[in-house]
């Protein structure tokens, strides 16, 4: 799924990374716990979260994720937007709640399987 499709399905506002909306995402992760996000390996991921602090951007950067969607109308600070711009990560904000947002993306095809690294 392209990032622009995510934006449209969630009726989200793009906060930075407008030029990357044609990039593809194959899997997504919805969580407010960054350590849980870090426990799963995936390619080209999308992060949905209701957590707003700079570690959200760093976590996504470490995981090579290309897009973060803040749910429940959460908005990142200017510092976070700058961090994301530097890391080449698209930021979006949607009024949709987490459960609904994940379900919407899943039924519309964003259901890439996640591989957990063991040992």
């Amino acid at each position: 799924m392209k990032i622009i499709d995510v934006k449209e399905l969630l009726n989200a506002e793009v906060l930075c990374g407008e030029d990357m909306l044609d990039e593809e995402v194959y899997s997504a992760c919805g969580s407010d716990m960054m350590s849980d996000v870090l426990a799963y390996v995936k390619e080209q991921g999308l992060l949905l979260t209701g957590l707003v602090n700079p570690q959200v951007i760093r976590t996504a950067e470490m995981m090579d994720m290309v897009c973060i969607v803040f749910v429940r109308a959460k908005k990142p600070s200017e510092d976070m937007v700058r961090l994301a711009e530097r890391a080449g990560i698209v930021l979006m904000s949607t009024e949709t709640r987490m459960y609904e947002a994940c379900g919407n993306l899943y039924v519309n095809g964003l259901n890439g399987k996640v591989v957990r690294r063991d040992g």
Binding site: M33, S35, D36, T59
Partner: protein, 142 residues
């Protein structure tokens, strides 16, 4: 790459928002060296969790990353409170972090298990009241 490359960082323990800067920098440096992306991701996630731990529990510390022909070694050293029970600390879900840390998205008891998961070897040398040194290796040829 004949000589090992050594990167040194001071991890500031006073500011949670800046935690992870060393890992971001290592990620960039390893990219410049042309290492495989899977290796880079494992190194940076393992180091990032370690950095977060140093900031949450030990008021910061120092991080050294040594890159040789066959491995990337990460050495994280702090003068924090030490780990009382390493076996317990290695269990997923065990955490001594405060509710403030939980509200920041960490302290789920996944830090050390994640570090072990993403490294090939991990050694914890800890003395209560003195500090902790964690050495992780990620081999390039596996």
């Amino acid at each position: 790459m004949a000589e090992p490359l050594v990167f040194h960082f001071d991890v500031d323990g006073s500011d949670f928002t800046s935690a992870g800067q060393a890992s971001v920098q290592i990620k960039k440096s390893l990219r410049q060296l042309g290492l495989p992306s899977e290796i880079i991701r494992r190194v940076s996630i393992a180091m990032y969790e370690g950095e977060i731990n140093m900031v949450i529990h030990a008021n910061g510390g120092v991080a050294d990353v040594i890159v040789t022909e066959d491995c990337v070694e990460i050495i994280l050293k702090d003068q924090g409170p030490g780990i009382e029970n390493v076996e317990q600390a290695m269990q997923e879900g065990f955490s001594t972090a405060t509710s403030t840390i939980h509200s920041l998205g960490f302290g789920a008891g996944m830090g050390l298990p994640n570090m072990k998961r993403y490294s090939d070897t991990m050694e914890i040398d800890t003395v209560v009241g003195v500090g902790t040194t964690i050495t992780m290796k990620i081999f390039l040829n596996q």
